[in-house]
């Protein structure tokens, strides 16, 4: 699974970190660190919950093609 955080869309709500802090870390002012990486399928559920928690829609979770 690929998880992508778009730093241009992130507005610093910090909900991703509240829901799945092990996958989504914040910088000094509470904005999500921009990530674009693989995660284990077992973590897909948590990643999707975080994506669903983001009011901006800044997080994408998708199957690898």
């Amino acid at each position: 699974m690929r998880v992508y955080v778009d730093e241009h869309v992130c507005a610093g709500h910090a909900r991703c970190n509240a829901v799945a802090g092990e996958l989504f870390e914040l910088d000094d002012i509470g904005f999500a660190l921009p990530i674009d990486r693989e995660i284990a399928p077992a973590k897909a559920g948590a990643a999707q919950m975080a994506a669903n928690a983001c009011p901006e829609g800044a997080i994408t979770v998708e199957e690898n093609l």
């Binding site: 507005a11 914040l26 509470g30 919950m49 009011p55």
Partner: protein, 417 residues
């Protein structure tokens, strides 16, 4: 009120009124609309049930477009190029530009970053012990009485004291500060038509901030005013005017908002004993309940200025028009929140827009969440059972922020301080 479909704008060459066109609600004003004042959250839902958006001609020289759906409101808040924050008033303009609220990117970021750091999640978290201590102290003052006006005696005081502490303002002046904020935020075009009272209250607030800034220059302390005094913009210090304007916005933003969400929430808890018992017995559920209270009672209605002619949300907008974005309407949108009228403390997902979206997302959101959580935790530890004494005198007000006018509560007085 009249819903006049035929008065909606017609495309060139269109001879027949478009039945899907955006309705006009003549002279609609969300601050005075009787249906909203009778129950604002249900009122927005009723409006949303009739149309995706509607037009008001209240402003006269430009149209006001009320957008009611979650998707439209969120997209509008994110599209700062089409929808500018250069004014966030739906009638006229602020007497002096609110910084950073009434700036757009890229200039917005220069001022916004001054607020991000002191209000960041980590910075807020380290203040939790002081915030909790303030909260417990206020509750203990009230507990032995067996009754209170929750709004005046707790909901306004708690975030005010916390915020004044954060801002380095004199905590002994709490009541005066609350009263002045009420004038600025709650006088309307009807009660204060030439803006005289709001202007005077605003000047007093700025005077308070100026006095605190002077005191800080003599004796620096670790708070937001100190950070503002020692900050740079474009390699120069903030001017006095910039400092006062930033302080003014922070002042208003921190006082009324948390107070109103607290009051709505405790009003709800007072009439829902099962939920109250659940939160008292299982405080680990409180963070989820905080998100649901924020959704259920999204109080802010913000405004943007249309920068160019465009069709958006089915509305034929012209440059200079303004859009009105009631987050209360987004919050109950069924397309986003299943059974939106049902309060579920464990609701997931819950990506409400209580704190807005886009570059102007409320910078105080982390502090607000912490205050709400602490209030819910500490109040129920000391006063787990309470009821509304008499709801006959409780009114609602709507405007930039919605709220109740009072919340008289009483409880068995066997809770020693």
């Amino acid at each position: 009120m009249t819903v006049n479909h035929r008065a909606a704008r017609q495309e060139v060459g269109d001879q027949v009124a478009n039945p899907d066109a955006v309705p006009l609600r003549a002279r609609f004003d969300h601050a005075t609309d009787p249906q909203l004042l009778a129950g604002s959250f249900d009122g927005w839902t009723a409006l949303r049930g009739e149309s995706r958006a509607f037009r008001s001609d209240l402003a006269g020289t430009y149209d006001l477009w009320y957008l009611l759906g979650y998707d439209d409101i969120r997209t509008a808040l994110q599209d700062y190029e089409l929808f500018s924050s250069r004014s966030v008033q739906y009638l006229g303009d602020s007497p002096s530009r609110m910084l950073p609220e009434e700036l757009d990117p890229p200039e917005h970021a220069k001022y916004r970053r001054l607020l991000n750091e002191p209000l960041a999640p980590n910075a807020v978290r380290v203040r939790e012990p002081q915030i909790r201590a303030h909260c417990v102290s206020l509750i203990k003052d009230i507990a032995a009485r067996g009754e209170c006006d929750f709004l005046a005696d707790f909901a306004q005081k708690f975030p005010t004291v916390v915020f004044m502490d954060l801002m380095g303002l004199p905590v002994e002046k709490t009541r005066e500060f609350i009263d002045r904020a009420q004038v600025v935020l709650h006088e309307t075009g009807e009660s204060d038509p030439d803006f005289a009272r709001r202007g005077a209250a605003a000047m007093q607030i700025i005077g308070d901030i100026a006095a605190a800034a002077e005191a800080h220059k003599a004796e620096p302390r670790d708070d937001i005013i100190n950070r503002l005094l020692t900050s740079a913009i474009d390699d120069r210090p903030l001017s006095d005017e910039e400092l006062y304007q930033l302080g003014f916005l922070l002042y208003l933003a921190g006082l009324d908002t948390v107070a109103n969400v607290l009051t709505y929430s405790f009003g709800y808890l007072a009439t829902h004993p099962d939920l109250r018992a659940t939160l008292t017995n299982s405080p680990e559920l409180i963070p989820g309940a905080v998100e649901e209270f924020l959704r259920f009672f999204s109080i802010a209605t913000t405004v943007r200025v249309v920068t160019r002619d465009a069709e958006f949300a089915g509305c034929p907008m012209k440059a200079g028009d303004r859009i009105v974005l009631p987050t209360a309407s987004a919050a109950r949108d069924e397309t986003q929140f299943t059974e939106s009228g049902v309060f579920r403390p464990d609701r997931m997902p819950n990506r409400h827009l209580a704190f807005g979206a886009g570059p102007h997302r409320c910078p105080g959101s982390h502090l607000a969440r912490l205050e709400l959580r602490i209030a819910l935790e500490e109040w129920h530890r000391i006063i787990p059972d309470y009821e509304i004494t008499d709801d006959a005198g409780i009114r609602e007000h709507v405007g930039p922020v919605a709220g109740l006018t009072a919340l008289p509560l009483r409880w068995p007085p066997a809770h020693p301080a």
